[in-house]
């Protein structure tokens, strides 16, 4: 979503993005002329007249599970967004029975919060697991 019109979205998709992604962008490109939606989400920059790089993960119940906002010059890491979605999906599937510690990726071990885990995380999780 950006403040550009759907006509500009069409030109960008058809003339540039379709050269990067076969068939063009598969998801809807939303137009927020005037920044009204961006203002409600707290990411519209009135001075510059554009939206900042806000990214919101919304679950099947319409609840915001996470967000990230960057100023315009720095781009995002899409695989980190996907990792977070996968983590939120796992937590939802286990109805909160499992949690994903720092550095979790699909296939890595999860934590089962409860009285037995208190003070025992060090036995199952080490700091080198926090990053790739």
């Amino acid at each position: 979503m950006s403040v550009d019109s759907v006509f500009v979205h069409k030109m960008w998709n058809d003339h540039e993005l379709s050269k990067m992604v076969e068939g063009g962008i598969p998801y809807p490109m939303l137009s927020d002329a005037g920044g009204k939606v961006g203002e409600v989400y707290g990411i519209y920059d009135e001075d510059a007249g554009v939206e900042t790089r806000g990214r919101f993960i919304i679950d099947p119940d319409g609840i915001v599970q996470g967000f990230e906002v960057l100023t315009p010059p720095v781009g995002r890491n899409v695989s980190e967004t996907l990792r977070q979605v996968q983590a939120f999906q796992l937590v939802r599937e286990t109805k909160g029975g499992e949690a994903t510690p720092s550095g979790w990726k699909p296939g890595k071990m999860t934590l089962k919060p409860g009285p037995d885990l208190v003070g025992k995380v060090w036995e199952v999780w080490t700091t080198d697991m926090a990053s790739d």
Binding site: M11, F56, V78
Partner: protein, 84 residues
Amino acid sequence: MAEKPAAGCARPTGGPVGGAPVESPGEEPVPVIREGHKMIRVGKPAPDFVAPAYHNGAFTEEKLSDHLGNWVVLCFYPGDFTFV
């Protein structure tokens, strides 16, 4: 001659030329109250919206609440022809 604006992600905007209008003395400035400035909070509902869209070669309309039941990644960016 006007200087060339630097190319960047922010969209250059125009504005009125000249100084600020002179306010008549004795007039109390009216405070501007802006609504919708509540911060988004995790664990709380995402504000619903409807917006025009370009999707699969057609002009459509998207409503956030139509996607209940699915995971949604809502992504804002400064402008077309920049990066994500």
